[in-house]
């Protein structure tokens, strides 16, 4: 790990679902540090706890025990309203399914967090920022479309715009390309790469090595614990194949 400041950290993070019989321990004492500006990829087999880890460190779910710190602020002790403010102002999310509000057009969906965060006098600035984001990610032409009128790739890029609308310090992505074909996957991952280059910290869960190669560091989960981690350096288009081979070999060794 290089010497950049740690922005997101978990300590002894555990999560147990008590609704099952017997209770299911999904995360077992995970210690994790994410550097500011880092692109961390979380991999693992199905049911290893990848998504649970993502939602636990992002405050969407309450861990059973352990702590999470974002930019030096302890999150697990925050109340729901405070935690929501942190998500609104410091975090962005991209999901496998776009999960847009069907009653709003594409632009309003992207505007939503920006308007929510903006004070009355900051509304115009928020709108300008979102319009610029839509231009940047090629969404502007479908801005007033309904969400059923645009393609999956466009929707996922719109998701990225929405996640960035509040200028977060960390972007969380849960299988963002899981529902896309290969060409749309490349399109969306290019957008992630661009966001990362802009300095945003990204934590992404994926089971696709072709997507994971976009990250800088990959951690591997098994049965709720981090069993391995590997630095793979910054992604460049011309080294993509070589990085993927290295990653696949590493994953094979781990039994992926």
């Amino acid at each position: 790990m290089n010497q950049a400041a740690v922005t997101l950290e978990s300590h002894e993070l555990s999560k147990t679902y008590f609704s099952t019989e017997p209770p299911t321990e999904v995360l077992r004492g995970i210690d994790l540090s994410v550097r500011a500006g880092e692109f961390l990829v979380v991999m693992g087999t199905s049911g290893s706890g990848k998504s649970t880890l993502l939602y636990s460190i992002s405050g969407m779910d309450r861990p059973t025990s352990g702590s999470v710190t974002l930019e030096g602020r302890e999150l697990t002790s925050l109340g729901d309203t405070e935690m929501s403010k942190v998500r609104l102002t410091r975090m962005g999310f991209v999901f496998q399914q776009p999960h847009f509000l069907s009653n709003l057009n594409v632009r309003d969906n992207i505007l939503l967090p920006a308007l929510k965060a903006a004070p009355r006098h900051g509304r115009e600035a928020a709108i300008s920022r979102v319009d610029a984001l839509m231009e940047r990610f090629g969404i502007a032409p479908v801005r007033s479309h309904g969400i059923t009128q645009v393609s999956g790739g466009q929707l996922q890029r719109a998701s990225i715009c929405r996640a960035l609308a509040g200028e977060p310090s960390v972007l969380f992505a849960d299988e963002p390309t899981g529902a896309l074909n290969s060409s749309k996957t490349a399109e969306v991952m290019d957008a992630f790469t661009e966001v990362h280059r802009g300095g945003t910290t990204i934590v992404m869960v994926t089971h696709d090595p072709g997507v994971a190669v976009r990250g800088e560091r990959v951690i591997y989960l098994r049965d709720g614990a981090v069993v391995a981690a590997r630095e793979i350096g910054r992604w460049e288009p011309d080294t993509a194949h070589r990085r993927e081979d290295v990653l696949l070999a590493w994953l094979r060794d781990l039994g992926f």
Partner: protein, 807 residues
Amino acid sequence: MENEERLYLRYAYNDLVKNKGINAALVVTLVLSAFLMATGSMVLERLAGSISRLSEQGKPPDLLQMHKGEYDPAALTRFAADHESEIDAWLVEEMLGYDSASLSWSRPGTGETGDLAASRIDNLFVTQNTEFDFLVDRTGAVVEPAAGEVYVPVLYQKQYGLTTGDVLTIRTASGPHQLEVRGEVKDAQMGASLSPSSRFLIHPEDFEALGRAGGATPEIIVEYRLAAGGDANAMQTAYEGAGGLPTNGQVVTGPQLRIISMIGDGLVAFALVFVSLVLIAIALLNLRFVIRGTLEDEVHEIGAMKAIGIPDREISRLYLTKYSILAVVGCVVGGLLAIIAANLLTQGIQTNYAQAPVGVWTFLVPLIALAAVYLIVVGICRGVLRGVRRIEVVNALVHGSTLDEKQAARRARQRARWVRRTGLASSSGAGVNRRLALLDLRAEGRAWVLLPVVFGLTAVLITLPANMVSTFEDPRFVTYMGVPERDLRADVQFQEDVDGVKDRLVAAMADDDRLTDVRSYAYVDYTADSEDGPARLRVEVGNRPDDEGIRFSQGGLPRDGQIALSVLNADKYGVGVGDELTIHDGDKPITVQVSGIYQDITSGGQTAKMSGEVTEGAAAYTVFADLAGDLADGGADPGGIADEYDEQFPTAGVKPTQEYVRETMAVLTDSMRGAAWVALVFGLGVVVLITSLFLKLRLARDRSTMGVLSAIGFAAQELVGQVRTKTLLAVAAGTAAGVVFAATAGQSLASAALTAVQLGITDLTFIPNPWLVYVLYPLLLLGAGYFGVAVLTSGVRRADKSEWIRR
């Protein structure tokens, strides 16, 4: 059992277990609907049976004429001879009437004593008849009291707890006359809760002794049993047209007796049926919502079943089995509960009337009612499940949509137009929550419509009976009784010296500084031609001020040469405002023009008014007076003054007009109040249930939206706030619509119902209690809605938000 049947049942069982909350709410709604429908129908069947049974035992007359004063027995014999073929039997029953204050009781065993002064009904002492119109005991046997014994009306037995061995003391002009209570009697003629009088049965020796003792008002009832197929109304017309017969009193036909009994004691049952009909409507809307939701939720499974070749009919049956089971459970449990409730509700009826015989209809009526509930429920389910046919495999499996291509394209176009028109950019900060809630409510209006409809129906359900109660209880209701809004009223009627009593009363009132504007109206009997021939028309004649304050539904006050008729009389004589009517004063024909038509529920709704002055020779008089200015301004109670006059003129029936209204309407008002309470309790229970059920399904459907909003940065409190805003807006809209409907169309419904029972009211204008129906009830409904939403959203804060997205 076929394998297929087992599969359906297993599927239904699994679903019932999986969705316990929703299915339990559905079952409760169905149980309530079935329960009220079965209870209402059982009570009506028992009531009709009880009345018929008592009618068989007591053999009441088909036509009766009450009379006070002299009469010519020979004229009655001639009339009977003239109508021999129509009359099966007839009799003249002599009665001695006592004021309630003249009757007291004591219990020798315990030394307890009391009087019947609080009772407002006439007390008539009679001997047992020999041919018909019998007073019977609890077993239906014709009772023959021994000398010194009395059988009291069931009403008094219930009201004052009079039991065998008690001593009833009658205050006569020659001192007290004591009789031993031997039991109670049921009276087919005067047993109804609405009946203004009741009969005590004594031995002929005691009857003679009381007659000699003085202090009683002698009265007779001329009674006729008609030959099979006889028409009581035609006989009444013939009787009234015959001339020379006793007519100084009420005239009642057999069918009217039965209507009076059914209205007084069956109103709650009718109200239960009405409540159950509204509940069934709610249950059906609810089922439709749940089934459609289920089809949407399980569209993938349905698509898969279709894909492997299971026919649509079989898929529908899979679901229908579950709803059939729910409907059967609802009907069985509702029916069983109804047996208990109907038994409790009919206890009073069986005491008043007779033990209804248990026959095939006793079982068939509630079974038919329950079968109707079951068939309607299953029929609606079958109709909604036809939607399975329209589901296309590809759309179901790929897009998870129940819509076919055309529907999906149309929906997408509509949605696209919608999102282009709406915008979020004008909101910011917390205002975004409100904006999102409103947008969702507008866009998903079809899904949310269940709540306003249910709350609207419930608002009607609880407001209508409350409006009727407040109208019946309002001082202004007096205008529906064909009388002006005056402070005091006296009825000088059915006695020997009518003119003398009236003159002395009017003189005393005129001299009283506390009273002003004393007016007397005389009741003069004419005959007029009705559709069935000449009939008696009793007309109230008086010197009428312009501002008399009677509410005319058409036209206005009668001037010289004019007559105003009650709605039922206008109908009876087939005339409208402006028409001419020929009335006969003896043999002298007088042609009068109808000046107006008003509503009146007194005297069987058959009254008339003319202008003029008749000071003597009338059949009866009504005297009105107002409190003098300073007393009225000071809010003085006319009751005290009325009591003074009542003591001074015991036969004049002086009372505050409002008390007269209360007494006349007491039974109807009490029954309606009971119905209003039933409607309120069940209505509130149902709206809480439906709100909870709706939100449970709605929240399940909105999970992913809530998940994404949570991820974006909306706190659980804000998400709950959005749901509450939407719910309360839907509830408020429905409640407001319901209250408005109840006040407008509901008024017409109530008028139609009152017209149907021939009470004399055809156009009722509600006099609502605004605090109750426009403030308290809407608040209760909003509170019920809020309670439902609070319960259902209480778990939102604790939930792991990612669950909403990941499922």
